[in-house]
């Protein structure tokens, strides 16, 4: 074993590897990919929220010159519905979506037919000539209303998720008091700036099916596509280019991905599909819409004895790839950072006649953090203590870590691996100057202003396994290539993986390039979701890099006739630890010496490379505190976010600049959901947010400067670097903190019961003061 490489890159805010091409207009996003002779696909979508398909007449479209093919369900009836990727429950299988609607449509935007033409403008024209007759049926628009019929007698309540531990009923019977709330969260989505896109291509001479425009989970999608078409993974490949934002929604397997591949196979020409923004807002997964009825049993001092929650999850038209993931996470993560002796959650997954749902950044947790933190504030009001004190009394103390929750989610048992929650609360309060802030708020209120502050605390999860593989190879030019099974949705994967790789080898950061999202380069990979890449791929990279370093030093020792333990690698050059001078060598020279046929290789496999797999059965649990300061306009009900602070414990930061970027970006999305964004529908199920003029995402005007405090109080014991993920903590508690701050500004605890909080709601509340 050689001496460890010098540290220095991990923990440093190095500039991103990704930026150069993106800043120069050299990105390769889905719409930038073209193949000779390609066709363009346009989807004909239902204009009804619920209806029986009477007929689909493709002939008028097919009659237009330049239209090559058009399909309705009967043309694709042999293709199975899209299967579940996570949180599979067998009883949900009957609710999966087929790639074109079979005999009923279930939301506005449901794909009914597709048209393939020589030109995208022509394909769009032709799609308007497909004659679809639909007999409208009554719609279900409320997940907590009456249960209807999906089809064939199947109820629209697809399943009931139940999670519990402890004696909840006994706790409520003996409680000093019970606090009850009904709360709801609106319909939101990730809405990446790049819409979805997919290009299918079939290469007959090698019998190879390819899809470009993949993201997030290319290997899983490759396996599914192969299975759906009766092919094998070996002759199916997916390729990820640049990805214009993921946030959970992008990269799942959608009907359009399957359709372009099927068309490429059948029509023998490349087929390109680029989603337009209206489609993106009605066809890409929605998320978050839930209504919770929650109650807490408490003692005289505000200690929570039990929580009992019943909620309704509005899944939209079908069960998509995430199956029960979002409500499952909501239920499993609801207890948060608090000691909850007994807990019960029952989540009804209901289908409605809206866009189907999936995950969106901090899925289930944005929702349940809002609900739990509203509950904490209500407990505080009940016993007459403030929001800080009620949290202090209920937080899990560091002495109890690790804590096994007796709950499971994503196929793992929830074991809170490490955390000093009370310390981070203090850090956050110090960071915002809480005592002075309260005094300022009192002063401004006395002057007649409506201003207030609110706190939200949460536990996140990250680093979902069960595995990740990495292969590192040094070329004879000294370039170091890290091949991963990860994916990049724009978060800086290449940078953090290169930092770890370069530091652990003892090589230059600039020499490292990182491959992700290419199924032809690595046999398996789990991709990018659940804030997993830095932890899982990062640790696999660390292991592979250390192996490669050992291999390089062993080869150098032989070539230089010196003991390996007297050699070190610095910036890709061998140096002598004993200070003696003499000829040295570089990684490139070692790689050359290990080429096939060289003496040094002997019976070993040639080349300077190393592989590693990291397996993990449990997730890591980062945690955070959000503090919001808001003021309300008396005349309009407008909410101005004056200050925002996030304190977040990352375990160990690889690149603080990127973590800060993740958190601030998450806050902006969280603010969207808290104050502006909502997919609403009229009473026939017609979507009312179909442009960026209706779905109001925050701009530079709405997002305040965000103070970010990154701490490393609680490294994860589950990986040697102590890593936890950063992707979702920025979004997690925004709804909770903003609601609490508005309550505080109104001087009316519990006033906010629903997200997003519209100016109309605030104005009504002000009028009631």
């Amino acid at each position: 074993m050689s001496a460890p490489a010098k540290s220095g890159l991990v923990g440093k805010s190095v500039l991103r590897k990704e930026d150069g091409p993106l800043l120069r207009g050299q990105g390769r996003f889905a719409a930038d990919i073209n193949f000779p002779n390609q066709l363009h696909m346009r989807v004909v979508r239902s204009t009804y929220a619920h209806g029986r398909i009477v007929s689909v007449d493709l002939a008028p479209a097919l009659a237009i010159p330049g239209v090559v093919a058009a399909w309705s369900f009967k043309d694709v009836a042999d293709i199975p519905p899209i299967d579940f990727r996570l949180t599979r429950l067998e009883q949900l299988a009957a609710y999966r979506q087929t790639i074109l609607a079979k005999d009923k449509v279930r939301y506005v935007g449901d794909p009914v037919a597709v048209v393939f033409a020589e030109d995208p403008y022509l394909a769009e024209d032709a799609a308007e000539h497909v004659d679809v007759e639909i007999e409208e049926l009554p719609v279900i628009l409320h997940a907590d209303g009456a249960i209807g019929e999906f089809r064939d007698g199947l109820p629209t309540e697809t399943t009931l998720i139940e999670k519990s531990y402890g004696d909840v009923d006994a706790a409520f019977t003996s409680a000093h008091a019970i606090v009850e709330l009904s709360l709801s969260i609106g319909r939101h989505s990730g809405v990446p700036l790049e819409t979805r896109g997919a290009i299918g291509r079939y290469i007959a001479e090698t019998d190879m099916l390819e899809m470009y425009g993949a993201a997030k989970v290319p290997h899983w999608n490759r396996d599914q596509l192969a299975k759906m078409f009766g092919r094998t993974a070996a002759n199916t490949n997916l390729f990820e280019g640049h990805v214009g934002g993921g946030f959970g929604v992008r990269g799942e397997l959608y009907p359009e991905d399957v359709l372009v591949c099927l068309a490429a196979l059948r029509l023998g020409r490349p087929v390109k599909w680029i989603e337009d923004r209206r489609e993106n807002l009605i066809a890409t997964n929605h998320s978050r819409q839930q209504t919770h009825h929650i109650r807490a049993a408490i003692d005289q001092t505000g200690n929570i004895l039990a929580i009992d929650d019943e909620f309704f999850h509005d899944q939209g038209g079908y069960m998509r790839t995430h199956a029960a993931t979002v409500p499952d996470l909501a239920a499993a993560m609801l207890p948060g950072p608090y000691r909850i002796p007994a807990y019960r959650a029952r989540g009804h997954i209901r289908l409605t006649n809206k866009t189907p749902g999936g995950t969106y950044r901090a899925p289930g947790r944005y929702e349940s953090t809002f609900v739990r933190e509203r509950l904490l504030d209500a407990v505080a009001a009940k016993v007459g203590i403030d929001g800080v004190e009620v949290r202090r009394r209920n937080l899990i103390p560091v002495s109890e870590m690790p804590v096994t929750r007796a709950l499971e989610t994503l196929g793992t048992d929830i074991v809170l691996d490490s955390g000093d929650y009370a310390r981070l609360l203090d850090t956050a309060l110090d960071g915002i100057g809480w005592t002075a802030l309260r005094a300022q708020i009192d002063e401004r209120r006395n002057a007649g202003e409506l201003v207030g502050a609110g706190i939200g605390m949460f536990v996140e999860k990250s680093g979902l396994g069960p595995f990740d593989d990495v292969r590192i190879t040094v070329g004879i030019d000294g370039r170091i290539e890290v091949v991963t099974g990860a994916a990049s949705v724009g978060q800086g994967v290449e940078t953090v993986i290169a930092q770890i790789c370069a530091e652990k080898i003892g090589a230059s950061y600039d020499a490292v390039s990182v491959i992700h999202g290419q199924t032809d380069r690595i046999a398996r990979g789990l991709g990018a979701f659940a804030s997993r890449v830095s932890v899982m791929t990062g640790e696999a990279t660390r292991q592979a890099a250390l192996k490669l370093r050992d291999n390089a030093l062993a080869a150098a020792a032989e070539l230089m006739q010196l003991p390996a333990d007297q050699l070190d690698l610095v910036d890709g050059e061998i140096v002598r630890l004993n200070g003696s001078t003499g000829p040295s060598m570089s990684l490139a020279e070692i790689a050359k010496a290990l080429q096939p046929g060289s003496n040094l290789v002997g019976d070993n496999e040639p080349g300077l490379f190393a592989e590693a797999s990291f397996e993990s059965k449990h997730m890591t649990y980062p945690y955070g505190v959000h503090i919001a300061v808001v003021s309300l306009a008396r005349d309009t009900g407008g909410v101005t976010v004056e200050r925002y602070l996030v304190a977040y414990d990352i375990g160990k930061a690889i690149n603080p600049m990127l973590i800060d970027g993740q958190i601030v970006g998450g806050v902006a999305q969280g603010l969207g959901g808290a104050l502006y964004e909502e997919f609403s529908y009229d009473d026939r199920g017609e979507p009312l947010a179909v442009t960026f003029a209706d779905y109001l995402m925050p701009t530079a005007r709405e997002v305040p400067p965000v103070d970010v405090i990154i701490t490393e109080d609680a490294p994860s014991p589950l990986n040697p670097m102590g890593l936890k993920g950063a992707g979702e903590g920025g979004a997690n508690a925004v709804g909770a903190a903003i609601a609490a701050a508005i309550d505080d500004a109104l001087g009316h605890p519990g006033a906010i019961t629903r997200l997003p909080v519209s100016p109309q709601t605030v104005k009504e509340l002000i009028n009631r003061l």
């Binding site: 500039l15 150069g20 990805v243």
Partner: protein, 159 residues
């Protein structure tokens, strides 16, 4: 649709003679007919600003302009910002201030900011944020974009 006309789009000083339908958007023509894919299309209804280019020095949403309307005009896109290997101060500032994550909205922000600062080098901070609020970014939360544009503004004033 056969109403195609011959037009010339001059992009970053290079003339592209193309033949397009009247309804062809400038964004599509820049990307498809002229092969300059650095200009991105985010919404096609003029809200997100990802497709912002400079037409005769003015920031324009190229999804809301027809290619034929730009016939003979000077168009600048993200591909024209750098001078060879040397990035424009705005590009460098975005890199140094982590003003981009996925990079999809970035060309639009770069062209918007460059276009505005070339005309109004002494724009106030308040007005600058107002201008930047006309484009959407879903990754960064804008703070680093604002920081980057301010840093570039100082450098652009000095040079």
């Amino acid at each position: 649709m056969t109403d195609k006309s011959d037009i010339t789009l001059t992009i970053n000083g290079k003339a592209h003679g193309i033949r397009v339908e009247a309804r062809r958007t400038l964004a599509d023509a820049i990307r498809e007919e002229c092969g300059q894919t650095g200009t991105h299309i985010g919404c096609e209804h003029g809200v997100c600003g990802a497709c912002t280019v400079l037409v005769n020095g003015e920031p324009v949403r190229s999804c809301l302009m027809f290619a034929q309307q730009a016939d003979g005009k000077q168009i600048r896109t993200v591909e024209g910002l750098a001078k060879g290997d040397e990035m424009h101060p705005m590009q460098r500032a975005f890199m140094e201030n982590h003003g981009l994550q996925c990079g999809f909205c970035t060309p639009g922000f770069l062209m918007l900011a460059v276009g505005v600062l070339e005309r109004e080098p002494d724009i106030s901070d308040h007005d600058l944020v107002d201008v930047l609020s006309s484009n959407l970014c879903r990754c960064t939360g804008y703070q680093n974009i604002i920081r980057a544009v301010r840093a570039a503004a100082i450098e652009m004033r000095q040079s």
